[in-house]
C-alpha cells in the first residue's frame, strides 16, 4: 500500500471524537521512606473511542502507573481522570474496562474456560451465558479446544492469549494492556500483535497499550504517547496513519521507519543518560 493510499484511507475514515479517557493535570506522588517519588507529573491526555494508544518510554517513566491510574488501581495525587464521563473509581465499579497484565495471572485451580468465566461469575451472569461468552472469547484468541485444560498445561503465549480472552469476555469497550507480550519471544509476539490488530479492527474497541518496544508501538497504534522518567511525563504524542487492517509488511515502509525514528528521538530527548 502506497503512502498516498494510506493518506486517502485515513481521510475516508469516520473520525469519532468522543473521549473515552480524559486526563487533566494528573500528578501522582508515592510517599516512601526515602522521600517522595514523583511517578507522574502534569499529565494531560485524551483517548478517543476506537483509538489504539500506545504508551512508550524507558522503565520507570510511569507508563504502567498511568495505566493503573486509568484502571483505578492507583489513586491520583491531584488532577482529574474521567472514563466515559465518570470518575475512574466509578468506571471500575461499572466494569468499564478489561485489563491485561504483564503476566497472564490465570488462576491455576481453574480450567481455561473457568478462568475466562471468572469475571462473568463475579458479574453474576447465568451459566449458559457464561459458557457462551467464554466460547466466543476463546474463539477470538484462537484458543477453542483448550477449554478444559489447566493454565499450566499451556505455553506462555497461549496463557497470555487466555488472559486476553478473559479481558474480552465481558465485552468492555476499553481494553487496558500492560506490556502483555513483554515476556514472550519475538515470533510469538509478532503473531499475537497481528491477532490483536485483527481483534481491534473487528471489535472497534478502544485500546491503551503499554510497551517498551518501539516497533511494537508503531506497528500497533493509531496514537503513540512517548513518556520520559523522573518525573513521569508525556513528551510527545504521535498520530500514525496506517489503516486498521495493516499487516506486518508495513514495518519495512518508509513511513513506519520515519515514525519509529521520531519515537526514538523523543525517547532520547526525554532521557538524560548522564544521571
Amino acid at each position: 500500500m502506497t503512502l498516498k493510499a494510506v493518506v486517502n484511507n485515513v481521510a475516508q475514515m469516520p473520525v469519532s471524537k468522543d473521549a473515552v479517557v480524559d486526563i487533566q493535570k494528573l500528578t501522582l506522588t508515592f510517599q516512601t521512606a526515602d522521600g517522595p517519588v514523583y511517578a507522574l507529573s502534569d499529565v494531560d491526555l485524551t483517548i478517543n473511542r476506537g483509538e489504539f494508544v500506545s504508551f512508550i518510554g524507558p522503565s520507570g517513566c510511569g507508563k504502567t502507573t498511568l495505566l493503573r491510574v486509568i484502571a483505578d488501581l492507583e489513586k491520583a495525587t491531584s488532577g482529574d481522570v474521567s472514563i466515559n464521563g465518570v470518575s475512574a473509581s466509578e468506571a471500575r465499579q461499572n466494569r468499564a474496562y478489561g485489563y491485561v497484565f504483564q503476566a497472564p495471572a490465570l488462576l491455576p485451580w481453574r480450567t481455561i474456560e473457568r478462568n475466562v468465566t471468572l469475571p462473568l461469575e463475579i458479574m453474576e451472569m447465568t451459566k449458559a451465558e457464561r459458557v457462551k461468552r467464554a466460547h466466543d472469547a476463546l474463539k477470538l484468541v484462537e484458543l477453542n479446544g483448550f477449554e478444559k485444560k489447566f493454565p499450566w498445561q499451556l505455553s506462555g503465549g497461549m496463557q497470555q492469549r487466555a488472559s486476553i480472552a478473559r479481558a474480552l469476555s465481558f465485552d468492555a469497550d476499553l481494553l487496558l494492556m500492560d506490556e502483555p507480550f513483554g515476556a514472550l519471544d519475538e515470533i510469538v509476539r509478532d503473531h499475537l500483535n497481528e491477532q490483536l490488530l485483527k481483534l481491534w479492527a473487528r471489535t472497534n474497541k478502544t485500546v491503551a497499550f503499554v510497551t517498551h518496544s518501539i516497533p511494537e508501538a508503531v506497528y500497533l497504534s493509531s496514537k503513540i504517547v512517548v513518556m520520559s522518567p523522573r518525573p513521569g511525563r508525556i513528551i510527545d504524542v504521535i498520530e500514525t496513519r496506517f489503516p486498521k487492517d495493516r499487516t506486518l509488511d508495513i514495518r519495512e515502509s518508509p513511513e513506519f521507519l520515519e515514525i519509529a525514528h521520531r519515537v526514538r528521538e523523543g525517547l532520547r530527548a526525554g532521557h538524560s543518560y548522564d544521571e
Binding site: 471500575r92 474496562y97 497484565f101 491455576p108 498445561q153
Partner: protein, 383 residues
C-alpha cells in the same frame, strides 16, 4: 556375568555358608547339651542352602532384572519363615548363636539387593509402577518387623522390655472388642469432634482476623501463648471443667489444634499474589467474592498443611489427656492401667492401634489434599 561381582550377594552366600558350619545355638544351661543342630531342622537347612546357591549364582551373574529380584525375594521370604519357625518350634529362642545370626545377616544382604533392584524398577505401565512403588515400603516394614521378631525371640529379650511382634499381634487379634471400645471412645468421640471443632473454629477466627486487622495484632499472640501451654498442665484443668468423658479430651485437642490451623490459614489467606488481587479489583469483586474465588483456593495448600499436622497432634492430645481421668475405657486409659499391671503386650497393642489410626487419619487428609489441590505444583500431572 556382568563384569563385576555383586558384593551384597557375595556377603549373602558366604554368611549362609558359614551359618551351616558355625553352631546354631548355645548349650542349654540345665542339660549342658546343645539345644539344636542345623541337621535336625530340615526346613532351616534347606533355606540356608538355598541362600548359599542363590547368593553364589547372583554374585556371579548379577540381579539383572525384576524377575530375578523377585526370585531372590522369594528365597529370602522362605528363609525368614524358616528362621521364625525354628525359633519357636525347635527351642532356639533365647539360645541363638553365631550360626543363626550369620543366617540373618545373609538374609539381610540378599533382601537389600532384591529391594534395591525393585526400587530402581521403571516402567511406563502405571499399574506395575505403582505396585513396585508400593512394594518397597511394604518390604521395608515387613523386614523391620522380622528383625524385631528374631532379635527379641532369638536373644530371649524379656517381654516386659520388648515383646515380639507376634505376641503383640496375638494380643491385638485376641482383644478386638476392648480395642474397638477404646478406639470408639478415644478416636471417634474425642479425636474427631475435637479435631473438627479445633480446626473449624480456628478457620473462622482466621477469617475474622483477616477481616478485622486489629484482631490479628491481639489474637495471634494470644493463640501463640495458648499453644505453648504444656498439655499435661492443661489436661487436668480441662477434666475439671468438662468432666471425665470425651468432652474434656476434645477440649484439649481444640487447644492443641487451634493455633497451627489459625497461623496457617492466616498465612494462606495472604498467599494470593498482588497481580491476582489487582485482577479481582478490576472486576470490582467484593471482599467475600474475592475470598471465595481467589484467596481461599490460594490458601488451601496452607490449610491442608495445618490439617495434616493437626491429624497427628489430635490423637496424641487425646491419649495423653486420658491419663488424667477418664471413664474406664479409652486408649490412653488402657495404656496407663495396663502398664501398671505389667501387661506390656496390651500396651503395645494399643500403640499399634494408635499408629494404625493415626496413619489412616493422616493418609485420609493427605488424600483429600491431593484431590482438592491437584492444581498445586507439587501434585501437577500433565493431562
Amino acid at each position: 556375568m556382568t563384569g563385576k561381582i555383586d558384593k551384597f550377594c557375595l556377603v549373602g552366600a558366604i554368611a549362609a555358608l558359614l551359618a551351616l558350619i558355625f553352631p546354631l545355638t548355645g548349650a542349654d544351661p540345665d542339660t549342658g547339651k546343645m539345644v539344636a543342630f542345623v541337621g535336625d531342622i530340615p526346613g532351616l537347612a534347606v533355606a540356608m542352602a538355598l541362600c548359599v546357591i542363590a547368593g553364589a549364582v547372583f554374585t556371579w551373574y548379577g540381579v539383572g532384572n525384576v524377575a530375578l529380584a523377585s526370585m531372590l525375594l522369594l528365597v529370602v521370604i522362605f528363609g525368614g519363615w524358616q528362621a521364625i519357625v525354628s525359633l519357636d518350634d525347635y527351642g532356639i529362642g533365647g539360645h541363638a548363636r553365631v550360626g543363626f545370626w550369620l543366617f540373618i545377616l545373609s538374609l539381610w544382604a540378599l533382601v537389600w539387593r532384591a529391594i534395591d533392584v525393585l526400587a530402581k524398577y521403571r516402567t511406563l505401565e502405571t499399574g506395575k509402577q505403582q505396585a513396585a512403588h508400593l512394594l518397597v515400603p511394604v518390604a521395608f516394614g515387613v523386614w523391620l518387623l522380622f528383625v524385631w521378631q528374631v532379635v527379641t525371640v532369638g536373644f530371649g529379650v524379656p517381654q516386659v522390655l520388648l515383646p515380639p511382634p507376634s505376641m503383640i499381634a496375638e494380643r491385638f487379634t485376641g482383644s478386638i472388642p476392648i480395642l474397638w471400645a477404646d478406639f470408639h471412645q478415644t478416636f471417634i468421640k474425642a479425636v474427631l469432634s475435637g479435631y473438627v471443632m479445633g480446626c473449624g473454629s480456628a478457620f473462622i477466627v482466621a477469617i475474622a482476623v483477616d477481616r478485622v486487622p486489629f484482631l490479628k495484632r491481639g489474637l495471634l499472640p494470644l493463640g501463640n501463648m495458648v499453644s505453648a501451654l504444656p498439655i499435661i498442665g492443661v489436661a487436668p484443668i480441662m477434666v475439671m471443667w468438662f468432666g471425665f468423658d470425651w468432652q474434656s479430651k476434645a477440649a484439649v485437642i481444640v487447644i492443641m489444634t487451634f493455633f497451627p490451623m489459625l497461623v496457617n490459614t492466616v498465612t494462606g489467606l495472604n498467599a494470593a499474589g498482588r497481580l491476582e488481587k489487582d485482577l479481582m479489583a478490576t472486576y470490582a469483586s467484593g471482599y467475600w467474592s474475592t475470598l471465595l474465588r481467589l484467596r481461599l483456593p490460594a490458601a488451601l495448600p496452607f490449610i491442608f498443611n495445618a490439617l495434616k499436622i493437626n491429624s497427628t497432634l489430635a490423637l496424641i492430645g487425646a491419649i495423653v489427656a486420658e491419663f488424667f481421668g477418664t471413664p474406664i475405657v479409652g486408649m490412653g486409659f488402657r495404656i496407663s492401667t495396663e502398664v501398671g499391671r505389667m501387661n506390656v503386650d496390651m500396651v503395645w497393642a494399643e500403640i499399634a492401634l494408635a499408629a494404625l489410626a493415626g496413619t489412616a487419619f493422616y493418609g485420609a487428609v493427605a488424600l483429600a489434599e491431593r484431590k482438592v489441590t491437584s492444581w498445586h505444583p507439587s501434585f501437577r500431572v500433565r493431562r
